[in-house]
Symmetry: C2
Subunit: 480 residues, 2 copies
């Protein structure tokens, strides 16, 4: 395929994409296929001879689309949103064409420098303390990671390196393995599974701190764990505080937890994967109060800030604490500017070596929406979740299970877990909307997350009416 | 921006991309900018109000392009290739539109199932042993990782889990930390820096095995290290063999190393990041002989198989060895099919949770090129590298520093390292072509890698003429 054919097919693809987005509401949000559906529809081996673009596009509708869960349908209320916007898609096309691998400054200076500046832009939108910004006189800065899981792991590894180096000075009799055996990390029992996984990968203990009645990590529970562990000879080194948990969008108490971490010389990482985007609105910024105590902070613009996956924004107060954990410099990656102090080689900030020119997506989205446009988008989602919340609250058969702060509503039928499991099954089997559940303490709960960029009040009303109907049927059957 | 505006701007972007690719040869391959060039050209904060697409595209040419290293220029011979093709770009547009996050089967069945089948297609193109294929009766299968670094780390972590579990049964007196302290991984001294980094992250020792005169890891050196370490109480558990090293594209001796790993119950991971693509050609397949001894195998279609970044293909003989190392199942990710044995939840195969619909790129590229088209592409690059090799060999001032097997030529002026450093500096300062160096044993060597999809004999001849001229000037100055 040459450039002139690409001009033609590329424009057909643009139209296909626009058609898909315009027609998505009419597609069934969750597919009917059974596991293994696809293999019989596809040849067992790659073709020897080239096939046409048209043949493939036919198969997209015939083979792929019937197996797609449509995350951008206004009937999709599962998990958390994943971002999708036209400006981000346009930027991604450009990113694919430039196709540079920005592991070092020299590998494509624009790729590195735009990222640094975009992370400053975003940091300012959140009113992050200056110490996290690269333009400040401090030692901080931001980097785009692939996912919040990677950010948590990178932070844990940096913290592990920091504490190990400190201990090797103060307690030279301890071997590295002896240190590793004593290290303990902490998160709330509501933290994302990726935190537990980071502990597994890093080879350190991870302890879950019992959350309070509002599903938040509080000072007393953390302190108790720290004291108990220190008394038994362990070394606390890392705490993950979550702002906007996956289960119910609860918030750990940063203003309590932060000072303790600082006093105890424990690295504080904040995971605000979903909720972070909301902090660009002044009325939600208070949820981030206490970030000044953190060593690292992360959230995913690829969830709720209209920047298509992947774009996970991470800031650290000390660049050297990341680079110190990873820095290895083979000759084929050295370049003449790298010791100037002016430049950033992002390969030292992340797990993989390769990286795409992802900051283009931020640049396009921030400029084409403007801060006001992005704020309006967040506010609309929050308003819709409150709309759903009030529908639930008005119905005596249902209950709200956690405070609704942003775009997630946790609710259930008053009654047994079994009843609610049956309701969820009915909802997802009907295929009109898509939800996933969670456990809150011992309760089986339905999560209603405002996800799609194009979701409107009418979809919320339809969804509620549908849920209500299925619930009425279910309660009817129960009675009979 | 709505769908109808996207139809218009998207088509403008398609034309911009086509223009960029058609005109890339005329752009200076390596930029003139100095560190910090970009920040003064961009506002200090994001705009409050929306800006137009046109304003941004103006800035792309004014601010971004002057700082881009053009990886797809036919004058780019640095690092290794990074893939770029129109079919992959078309697929990426579709991937962006569907925008699903395929962490589990249910999150988008098509995303998971196409990946499994595409990995089988690719495995068959390479004639991988059946045990690595998901369609076989065995326990193997493939997964797309983000990068070879991640694949190496995932393999190391799976191997660490496997050996730890085995030892906890056979030597229950050993604590996990005591085991970690004894674990040793190995790779050749020519292995990529990501291998050393995987050791750092995994908290295990990594030892470099001295390579032989052809920069290959051989049986005797590996055996010696294993015996010495076992004698001193250490536990060898992981070997990375490299096929196509970054420095000089040398090949570890799999047929020697493989059986030793199997005898010693050591996990063998093969990293063929660059070279792997060539194995789709029957005449290069012998370089992969011995893969049958491996537990895991990885290469990057995003380097040399025309699938744009990121797409790193990894296969394992036992799926359960990966998933066993990572599996955590919170309720919001559970779904009704997951225990059927028929389905794959790829989140258990990788470090991050989120993942894009990357197999679409493989599907488009494999079908629009056909296997024959892909083979022709590989062969053309290999032919061009031999063309450059013979130009170098014909010149008595120069020497070839390592066997030229695929698309990389390592060469230098006969003479001191200083002389060759001066030559490289002259070449890169002239900005007509772009190269990076490597060290082979103690020699400073220039790497000439065939990279661009559009590079032709004429570019090789121009590049050599240019290098020759600069070398002649340099030798002249030296004499004076």
């Amino acid at each position: 395929m040459n450039a002139s054919e690409f001009r033609k097919k590329g424009k057909e693809m643009v139209d296909y994409v626009a058609d898909y987005m315009e027609g998505i509401e009419k597609r069934q949000v969750y597919p009917d296929v059974e596991p293994g559906y696809l293999r019989p529809l596809i040849p067992a081996t790659a073709p020897q001879e080239p096939e046409t673009f048209e043949a493939i596009m036919n198969d997209v509708e015939k083979i792929i689309m019937p197996g797609v869960t449509h995350w951008h349908s206004p009937h999709f209320f599962a998990y958390f949103p994943t971002a999708s916007s036209y400006p981000a898609m346009l930027a991604d096309m450009l990113c694919g064409a430039i196709g540079c691998i920005g592991f070092s400054w020299a590998a494509s200076p624009a790729c590195t420098e735009l990222e640094t500046v975009m992370m400053d832009w975003l940091g300012k939108m959140l009113e992050l303390p200056e110490t996290f910004l690269a333009e400040s006189a401090g030692e901080g800065g931001g980097v785009i990671q692939g996912s919040a899981s990677e950010a948590t792991l990178v932070a844990l590894l940096a913290a592990r390196t920091r504490v190990t180096r400190q201990l090797q000075i103060t307690s030279p009799e301890l071997s590295q393995a002896a240190i590793m055996e004593k290290l303990v990390a902490y998160s709330s029992d509501q933290a994302h599974s990726s935190v537990e996984r980071a502990g597994l990968i890093g080879g350190v203990k991870l302890k879950a701190i019992p959350s309070d009645g509002n599903f938040a990590m509080r000072a007393c529970a953390l302190k108790e764990a720290l004291e108990r562990d220190k008394a038994s000879g362990l070394i606390p080194f890392f705490v993950v505080a979550t702002l906007g948990t996956t289960s119910c969008c609860s918030f750990d108490n940063l203003l309590e937890v932060g000072p303790i971490c600082n006093q105890e010389n424990v690295w504080l990482h904040i995971d605000a994967a979903y909720a972070g985007s909301a902090f660009i609105c002044p009325e939600f910024r208070h949820l981030l109060n206490g970030v000044e105590f953190a060593d690292s902070f992360n959230f995913n613009p690829h969830k709720w800030l209209l920047v298509n996956f992947d774009c996970s924004a991470m800031w650290v107060k000390k660049r050297s604490s990341l680079t110190g954990a990873f820095k290895l410099d083979p000759l084929y990656l050295k370049h003449s500017h790298q010791d100037s102090g002016l430049i950033t080689d992002y390969r030292h900030w992340q797990l993989p070596l390769g990286r795409r020119f992802r900051s283009l997506k931020m640049w396009f989205v921030f400029r084409m929406y403007g801060v006001k446009g992005l704020q309006a988008y967040i506010r609309k989602h929050v308003q819709l979740s409150h709309e759903f919340e009030s529908l639930v609250r008005r119905d005596p058969c249902f209950e709200i299970c956690a405070e609704v702060t942003l775009g997630l509503v946790c609710f259930r039928l008053k009654g047994s877990n079994k009843l609610n499991e049956a309701l969820l099954e009915k909802i997802n089997n009907a295929r009109k909307i898509h939800l996933v559940p969670c456990h809150l303490k011992d309760k089986f709960v339905l999560r209603f997350a405002i996800c799609s960029r194009t979701v409107e009040s009418v979809h919320i009303q339809q969804a509620w009416k549908h849920i209500k109907e299925l619930a009425t049927q279910l309660l009817q059957t129960e009675k009979e």
